[in-house]
Point group: C3
Chain length 350, copies 3
């Protein structure tokens, strides 16, 4: 992948300064950039690095001095940088060829949109529908009756079980499992009797699902991941969970059964929520914390059981002082006892 | 899938009230049910919903008023509901066709029972044995010499390594790994030298293993999951672990090496146990808690290191009061100092 | 697998006592060993078991009395035991046949070293390079331009995405994902815009990666796992992370983006580190703990946020006393109030 600086500038709708004919072959941070790479400065604290960077070109904001180096000047350098990353992104430059690979297996009555790519060793069961331009990579399993929208990208070793519905522009990373049975058992004389999980999973548009993440199907009805939500790797979504729009769940988060997350909820790594609760929109759950009861919109929660983060911080700070408090308390008890003795004495003398 | 109400009633051995010829095409909760679905009321607090549900039929207990709607009256409506779910379960109605798919690979000396289904792209190594009616779905890997019992269901992308033994009626969900090497290294001058893991894994009858769960093989001897135990998704079972009968380990639980869990142990999400310990039967470990030493049967544990749950709750409650306690303590210290000063004064006057 | 005792002794360079012609078919612990198995005693507390073990032969240290049983006497019995395990290890005795299986798919311009084994249903994309003696097991996906060194062992269902670099003697267990997209999004009017992850992953020599572990590719540059590091199952390594040499990360550990671990860092199960921090070499992080800021070399950390382990233990001990402290504190307050009243009274009388 190589582009002339002037081409990049044009696509960014920026102002070029310096030789537009130099060839850019990659993107890098300002400290690591090589002479054939482009970099950017968005944060003022890196402005000084403009003088020393080896980058072939720099994306800068309005009014920034490029120090005589080739620059592209734009309104929002960070956003321009994201756009440049898109120009150099692997999948944008290695567009999968449409068509069904000869080793792929397609069941009966499979409906493929335009330009769909079904790659080697993909297994598509009966009655599956796949929308335009979606790419199904090697070793993907798609169960009977499942529907996938347009412009999707399903990476190798993904399992999507039967009767699942997936929207448009959904990205599912390697090894993720969608639609596995929810974890439901009825107790029968101290043993666990499996409750069949006859519901499904619905994944809305623009969702991204991380590697080896698991999303269980509902007992009845559906487990639902709403538009624009992003799940990191190794996340567990249990049966009947509803995740709102534009949420971000970091790696190894777990959401227990029948819990509902509002829109724009963020949960940090190893965090989670117990079952059958509602966490209001725009809430934040810190790392390793778990919500155990209903929480209103806009909650900032940490600890386990999760409490308002500020309160948790105060408790933490107080707890840290506890080891020194205990001997002080014992000392104070002794002083009070001494005072009591002294006060007592005069009375005895009476 | 569609059944007449009278057929369902017959299979539940219940008493029908209303038109037995209506067709039921699904199962749903009492609030969400559509006119072609059957629902149930087991909990008295939902009795009022009988009047308003749109369900085509309702499973009710003895003595419950069906409000003129089609009902099936049974002794135990919850259990009848599980039975109806089984009637409508996908895998019961889409029984895999017996036989070996033409793309599947079978090694030498593979022994298949009656009606075994080996689906597309399955890989069965030499000397594998698979019992009657077991279904091996696409992309399953079964290593050399492994034995799987009857009536098993192995979902796509499961890896079962060599020389593993799996019982009857075992369900293994997508992407689970059975028999990977235990994590064992001998320190050699600050480096880690791999200790070959030459043991195996034994999974007894009626075990269910969740999606992307991993169960390591033992260094010597075996890692053992006993009869009836259920593991949720993304669970880690390390080498030489023994899990008792009828345990339930929720998602993302981790059990470290050589630990033994008694029968009927329940561990909630993100919980776990350190290595080389014994957790007695009928114990419960709460979410995000981890047991770090031997604990007797019937323990209810939470926190880290896990303590008796009631004790942990008292500590939590006390800790929450700590931020207000600290200034009160400082105040008390001051008051005692003032008292001391007052008591001192008269003495000085002597 | 069977070996004569004298062969084992020769390969261990030990001193044989007893019949060297007996056949050994396995290795076991001293208590569980059967008459055809070899065992060892390294820990003095098991010396007494020499008299009662059923093992066919025992590896013992210098000066240890073999009680008349067949023994191999060596300088370091534990190390000799590891060597015996290697003799009996499955993969050493079931060396994969070199060659490309007829069902495997090789892209254009793939470079294979000597004696490489590409097993059934492996998918090797264009421009991949694989070094001498490396074994690629069934259902492995290797993306375009990825390089794997010599003597590697890649287990079933591993996904290695494009442009990744893997060193020599690397073992990757079933279902692991190397090179998935880092979890990076730019906020655009309350929505998440994907930041293409155009960097890569570099895995150095002698690394072992556990089952279903995920290692994300960097946004720019590389995610780096240095020589000799061992990752257990279900571990998450986020984008731009650097893990030093000879580290050990236990199961379900998570390391957030752009964090750097020094050499020989050990992290126990469910532990982790937040993003953008440095954890010095030879540090230890206890189970379920997470580091949230830079920590110097040699740190022993526990809790969340992780603090020096000794300090954390003191806080824990103090916290456990808190429930009894609270009523004592209330009592002390009352006593002080009484003292104050008494002191006051005489003044009033004046």
């Amino acid at each position: 992948m190589r582009m002339k600086l002037k081409e990049i500038c044009e696509r960014l709708d920026g102002d070029l300064s310096g030789d537009g004919n130099i060839e850019i072959t990659g993107v890098s941070g300002i400290k690591e950039a090589l002479p054939n790479q482009i970099t950017f400065v968005a944060n003022p604290k890196y402005l000084a690095a403009i003088a020393t960077t080896q980058a072939g070109a720099i994306i800068i904001g309005r009014g920034v001095n490029g120090n005589g180096k080739p620059t592209i000047c734009v309104e929002n350098p960070y956003w321009a940088f994201v756009k440049v990353l898109e120009m150099f992104a692997w999948d944008k430059n290695h567009r999968a060829l449409p068509g069904v690979h000869e080793t792929a297996i397609l069941g009966k009555n499979v409906k493929l949109g335009e330009r769909v790519a079904i790659q080697a060793f993909a297994y598509i069961a009966d009655n599956v529908e796949i929308g335009d331009d979606t790419v199904i990579q090697p070793f993907v399993y798609i169960g009977e009756g499942t529907k996938i929208g347009a412009d999707g990208l399903i990476y190798p070793h993904v399992s999507i079980r039967e009767e699942v519905t997936i929207g448009n522009r959904v990205i599912i990373h390697c090894g993720a499992v969608i639609g596995s049975d929810g974890f439901g058992f009825a107790p029968v004389s101290n043993r666990h009797h499996k409750i069949p999980q006859i519901g499904t999973v619905v994944i809305e548009d623009d969702v991204e699902i991380g590697a080896n993440t698991t999303i269980d199907r509902a007992t009845l009805a559906e487990t639902l991941i709403k538009r624009g939500t992003k799940l990191d790797n190794l996340v567990q979504i249990a049966h009947n969970v509803v995740i709102g729009e534009d949420c971000c769940l970091a790696a190894q988060v777990g959401i227990a059964g029948s819990t509902t997350l509002g829109d724009r909820v963020n949960i940090a790594g190893h965090g989670g929520a117990a079952g059958h609760l509602t966490l209001g929109e725009d809430s934040v759950v810190y790392a390793k914390s778990a919500v155990t009861k209903d929480m209103p919109a806009g909650s900032h929660l940490s600890g386990f059981p999760a409490r308002p983060h500020k309160q948790e911080l105060r408790i933490h700070a107080a707890t840290r002082r506890l080891p020194e408090l205990l001997p002080e308390f014992a000392k104070l008890q002794k002083r009070v006892a001494e005072l009591e003795a002294k006060i007592q004495e005069p009375e005895d003398e009476d």
